[in-house]
């Protein structure tokens, strides 16, 4: 069975860079508050979320690669 | 195999002998003269508009009016003309309006939507690429079953392009009603005729295609009209294409962007002024009693007025709206392009994109 496509959980789809951080940190994007246009989750939102979120991975990537 | 150069009028306006029928008719001759005066007046106006920033780069036909007008005069309305960029005389003769020509040279594509000669090709800038069009048009005319012909004019430089040769060769192989007129003005921008080819004449290039090649004095409108007329008559009879080399001289710069003094002497140019086509025909007409100062002045007045009127109309024509760029790209706008038209603020439905 092929891995299912990751569905963006907000109203707005995630950009590839944001999706990558979210996936690598293994967080549920619906927990993140989007500050972008129409509530879009931005890279900064994820990084801020990871910083203060205890459940986030200890070595959350600081930068998309 | 030196073909003789057809000429009826010497540079001094005297005739080499009786003029050929039906051109000998004074009305016809005056018509030819008027056509050349109109072309020259158009050129003058165009250059002055360009100099004052109101027209794009412009290629004057100064000195070559007889080739252009003589050729057009030999054609019927139903024939098809494929000009280069220096044949305003022929275009005006065939019914392209000076308004349209100003629009074209002013950078407005509506200038090629000729109301007059509906099937004539627009001005062709890429040198010699219109000769193949004339060949295709000639095939169409032949398949149509009528006796119409296609006529293309190019410069001496155009004879160096493969397109010229391939077109002649195909027209010859298929015996098509196509006439190729070379307005040999001795220069292709800065490259003199002698450097363009080692061929002794341009007319003899016809031999490569197995078709007749003739030379004519291109400053003698009567000779040009007669020569092209004979070629057209041959073509109408099914005898196929002809190449005509009309010997003339470019008295002006190549275009308004050129400075011919960089590569040719003033003496050379002034020498050629003695052979120019308007004086020649006017002198003949005057000698024969068909022309005088009053008629000349009246003509000049009439022609200038027509041209000024056209220029004003041109200058008063508002530019198209941006979406006009798409108006005629396809017969109907393909769906994938709708976004682009919309991004121009335009309405895909607005055909011509006129304001």
């Amino acid at each position: 069975e092929a891995p299912a496509k990751a569905e963006p959980s907000g109203d707005q789809p995630l950009s590839p860079a944001v999706r990558k951080i979210v996936e690598e940190a293994n967080v549920d994007p619906s927990r993140i508050e989007g500050s972008g246009k129409d509530g879009r989750i931005l890279k900064g939102d994820v990084l801020a979320f990871l910083e203060k979120d205890e459940g986030g991975k200890a070595e959350a990537p600081a930068q998309a690669k | 195999m030196q073909p003789e150069i057809r000429r009826f009028l010497h540079p001094d306006g005297t005739a080499t002998g009786p003029l050929p029928e039906p051109l000998a008719d004074p009305d016809r001759l005056v018509g030819l003269y008027r056509g050349m005066v109109l072309a020259r007046a158009f050129d003058e106006k165009a250059i002055s508009l360009q100099r004052t920033g109101r027209l794009g780069t412009y290629a004057s036909s100064l000195g070559q009016e007889a080739v252009s007008v003589g050729t057009a005069a030999a054609m019927d309305d139903a024939d098809v003309f494929a000009p280069s960029f220096r044949e305003h005389g022929a275009q005006l003769w065939r019914g392209v309006t000076p308004e349209e020509l100003f629009l074209y040279w002013g950078g407005d594509e509506r200038g090629s939507a000729f109301e007059g000669p509906k099937r004539d090709f627009p001005v062709c800038v890429p040198v010699a690429t219109h000769f193949p069009h004339a060949v295709g048009a000639a095939l169409a005319l032949k398949l149509d079953g009528g006796a119409s012909v296609a006529v293309a004019i190019g410069g001496d430089g155009s004879t160096s392009k493969g397109d010229f040769y391939e077109a002649l060769n195909l027209a010859g192989a298929w015996r098509l009603p196509a006439i190729f007129v070379i307005s040999n003005n001795q220069w292709a921008i800065s490259v003199p005729r002698q450097a363009q080819t080692a061929s002794r004449t341009l007319a003899q290039k016809a031999l490569a295609a197995g078709i007749p090649g003739w030379q004519v004095d291109g400053n003698d409108a009567v000779a040009v009209a007669s020569c092209v007329g004979d070629a057209i008559a041959r073509a109408r009879e099914g005898a196929g294409p002809t190449l005509i080399e009309a010997l003339t001289y470019r008295l002006g710069d190549h275009t308004t962007a050129d400075d011919a003094r960089r590569y040719r002497s003033d003496e050379e140019v002034s020498g050629h002024w003695k052979e120019e086509p308007l004086t020649r025909l006017r002198t003949y007409l005057a000698n024969e009693g068909h022309w005088d100062k009053d008629r000349e002045e009246a003509l000049i007045r009439e022609v200038r007025q027509r041209i000024d009127e056209a220029a004003e109309h041109y200058l008063a024509t508002p530019p198209q709206l941006p979406e006009a760029m798409f108006a005629h790209l396809f017969a109907t706008l393909p769906a994938p392009l709708e976004d682009q038209v919309r991004s121009l603020g335009g309405d895909a439905g607005n055909g011509e994109g006129s304001p």
Binding site: K5 | G136, L141, N169, H328, P334, P336
Partner: protein
């Protein structure tokens, strides 16, 4: 063996066009007595006569240029260039005239011509006989670029191309000329231009291709299905103007895209498709857009041809890599 080959389908379409519209004229090298070096025009001289099926001298420039002239006068020339490697001399006419005659004359003249050429590699042809330069023509505004990938598509798209009032560059993937047979009803029905065809539906990734590479693409989809990967296949069919919508919509669903073409990678038409995805389609992408293409090198002679041509393996591999991004 039932059905017809692409060569026969094209022949049917040309014959029908000649029959239904007397303005249709065929011209090209060796298309008359010889019936074309691939036999696409076989028998048409005998049926329609030498006025309408015309062998030209060996002159690609004037084949294109005379077609422009014919088309401007209301005829519908269908010109053959014997191989795409010899099509370059026509670009001047196609770019400077055919594509813009209507624009320049505000619709007074138009240019309803078709420029046909077999194209592509994989048939062990001589040097210069295997090129795929469709991207050059697709970059010329005012032209349509149409490429069929089956006998039926060839029939329907050729009729559409001939009837279309715009100049159409019609590229025939010669590896498909006789590779497959298909029932083609000679009904005179054209297929729509300017539309990509979703040839197979799938939820996992989108394979986009055209021409002969559709063969490998279809095979890849089957192989992938065996691995549980359901690929959607889009056959581009009309490269220009490009129906990007259909591709973007497919990727909106699948999130992944592998584009397949045999022309060299850099500046190939796959770049345009990937660019549309990087633009309008970006937010739906879960994996990098892959292009499986020819290499950025000269199309090799036949001994290395197989190494050059994109293979089913390379497509599958790209697809699997895309699937690794969840």
């Amino acid at each position: 063996m039932s059905g017809v080959t692409m060569v026969e389908a094209l022949n049917l379409a040309l014959a029908r066009a000649l029959r239904e519209d007397e303005r249709v004229v065929l011209l090209g090298e060796d298309i008359a007595a010889d019936g074309g070096v691939f036999r696409v025009t076989d028998g048409l001289l005998a049926t329609f006569g030498a006025d309408r099926v015309r062998d030209t001298p060996l002159s690609e420039t004037v084949i294109a240029g005379a077609s422009v002239g014919l088309a401007a006068m209301g005829y519908r020339p269908v010109a053959e260039i014997q191989f795409m490697g010899f099509i370059y001399p026509t670009i001047d006419q196609m770019a400077n005239h055919a594509s813009r005659l209507r624009t320049r004359t505000r619709g007074r003249l138009s240019c309803p011509m078709v420029l046909r050429a077999p194209y592509g590699g994989g048939v062990h042809a001589p040097e210069h006989h295997s090129e795929s330069m469709e991207a050059m023509f697709a970059h010329i505004p005012g032209l349509r670029v149409v490429i069929p990938s089956s006998p039926r598509a060839a029939y329907g798209l050729m009729l559409a191309a001939i009837r279309d009032p715009a100049p159409v560059v019609f590229l025939e993937p010669k590896r498909l000329y006789r590779a497959v047979r298909e029932t083609v009803e000679d009904t005179g029905e054209a297929l729509p231009l300017d539309r990509c065809a979703v040839e197979r539906e799938g939820r996992d990734l989108t394979l986009v291709s055209w021409g002969a590479m559709m063969l490998e693409t279809r095979k890849a989809a089957e192989t992938l299905a065996g691995e549980g990967i359901e690929a959607e296949i889009v056959d581009v069919r009309t490269l220009a103007p490009l129906d990007a919508r259909t591709i973007v919509d497919s990727v909106l669903k699948t999130g992944r895209c592998v584009i397949v073409h045999e022309a060299p990678l850099t500046g190939g038409f796959g770049a345009e498709i990937a660019a549309r995805l990087a633009g309008e389609g970006l937010m739906s992408l879960v994996a990098p857009v892959a292009r499986v293409a020819g290499y950025d090198t000269v199309m090799p002679l036949l001994r290395l041809e197989a190494a050059y041509m994109p293979s089913t393996d390379r497509i599958c591999e790209a697809a699997r890599q895309a699937m690794e991004f969840s």
